[in-house]
Symmetry: C2
Subunit: 245 residues, 2 copies
């Protein structure tokens, strides 16, 4: 109780908007002092976007960076003939947008409804210079994304369609609700943030194969599905086994 009070007092100089924000703790904003946060927050704007909004086509240089507060962002690459591959998913409180120049062009799009906290580009870059801890956070996120990318590579290159679907569902279960600890949880329930097309583009499959594998898992009681989007997983360990991990 008094601890709670002490915490409030300690946070009193932190902008109101930031106080409940996850990025303040696990995200990049944790690198900043209350003072810096206050300065930065004068230039931030929070905005919501519906699913399918295109946030960045990384051919053009971005004009601002953002923290993802809510929802899921998909990063994808497209070939000349339209074939598409989702190369990454971002969940709150990930940092969206990339410092330095990128050779490869990746497109960022809202997979679900999303809420973003935007910073102007130059404010971030100024802070990068005077705040090494911020750079460390970005490095940490980049390395984390690299881990995820490499997991996905194993999935794409070496797993069967069934293993792919199980891996995907297990991934979503791990990320969708950051409050539950996957290592302790035995079951999970969530709404899929991706359409069947997105899932197919994530796993390097067709929507038909995605659909067929989902019915197969439904019939085998590995998952239950309600209204196409709502998924219930009775046994996460069973799912994990099927995923090949």
């Amino acid at each position: 109780m008094s601890d709670q009070k002490r915490l409030d007092i300690h946070n009193s100089s932190v902008p109101v908007l930031c106080q409940a924000c996850e990025a303040r703790h696990k995200g990049v904003c944790g690198a900043m002092t209350p003072d810096e946060l206050t300065r930065l927050s004068r230039h931030t704007t929070i905005r919501q976007h519906p699913a399918k909004t295109i946030l960045v086509t990384e051919e053009e240089p971005v004009k601002s960076y953002a923290n993802l507060l809510n929802g899921v962002v998909k990063l994808s690459k497209t070939m000349a003939d339209g074939r598409q591959q989702i190369v990454g998913l971002q969940f709150a409180p990930d940092f969206v947008g990339r410092p330095f120049h990128s050779e490869s062009q990746v497109c960022a799009e809202a997979a679900s409804n999303v809420t973003l906290c935007y910073f102007p580009k130059n404010a971030v870059e100024a802070m990068l210079k005077e705040q090494p801890e911020l750079e460390r956070r970005l490095l940490r996120q980049a390395l984390g994304e690299l881990d995820e990318a490499r997991d996905l590579m194993l999935t794409l290159g070496r797993k069967s369609a069934e293993e792919k679907l199980a891996s995907f569902l297990y991934l979503i279960a791990r990320h969708i609700d950051p409050t539950i600890d996957i290592r302790k949880a035995t079951e999970a329930t969530f709404d899929l943030p991706l359409t069947r097309t997105d899932i197919a583009d994530f796993l390097g499959l067709t929507i038909e194969t995605v659909s067929r594998q989902l019915t197969k898992m439904r019939k085998a009681d590995v998952i239950r599905v309600e209204n196409n989007r709502h998924i219930i997983i009775p046994s996460l360990s069973r799912l994990r086994e099927i995923s090949g991990n």
Copy 2:
């Protein structure tokens, strides 16, 4: 001429070993002052390893970091039943080993004969604290690896076997000889640093499919092959077209 001399004088305090080293310019060592390099070089050791040497199995924490001076290192992930996927290739002057903890386990192995310049772990970590530029270099490399990882994901998920092989050969042509500029070059010649098995594990194929696609490209005059390893590419732009980029 006098510029050349000036450069020599300016480099006189840089350790002899570092003067010709690519890592000094394009690699992480470029972040250090001559003084820091001298201090660090007291603890570095240069070693050679034959192909197939296992450098790190990232389950165990690494005891040292290194710069790759020569050769190719492959990063791979393996499933319980033995299926394997190469998730990254490293060329000189890449930094090998990873700061912070990694969740995913990646194994680093010499694909060809390699030369490494080792630093003790704590020396690197001490330098990370007092030298923000070093962290920036690591961030830059991590983001570069992320780009490569995402290119490979598109290849793994959405390309045909033929496109995969072309993409791979184009990738090697770009990296194997850093002195030539791929944008200007019209042809290329190199020794493959990977066996057919490695190529298959890189592209998510079997060695039979790799072999068949190579003969197909040979018969179509897209490549010439000598002694299994030596590759001649008469037209890089033709190869690029086939790769689907």
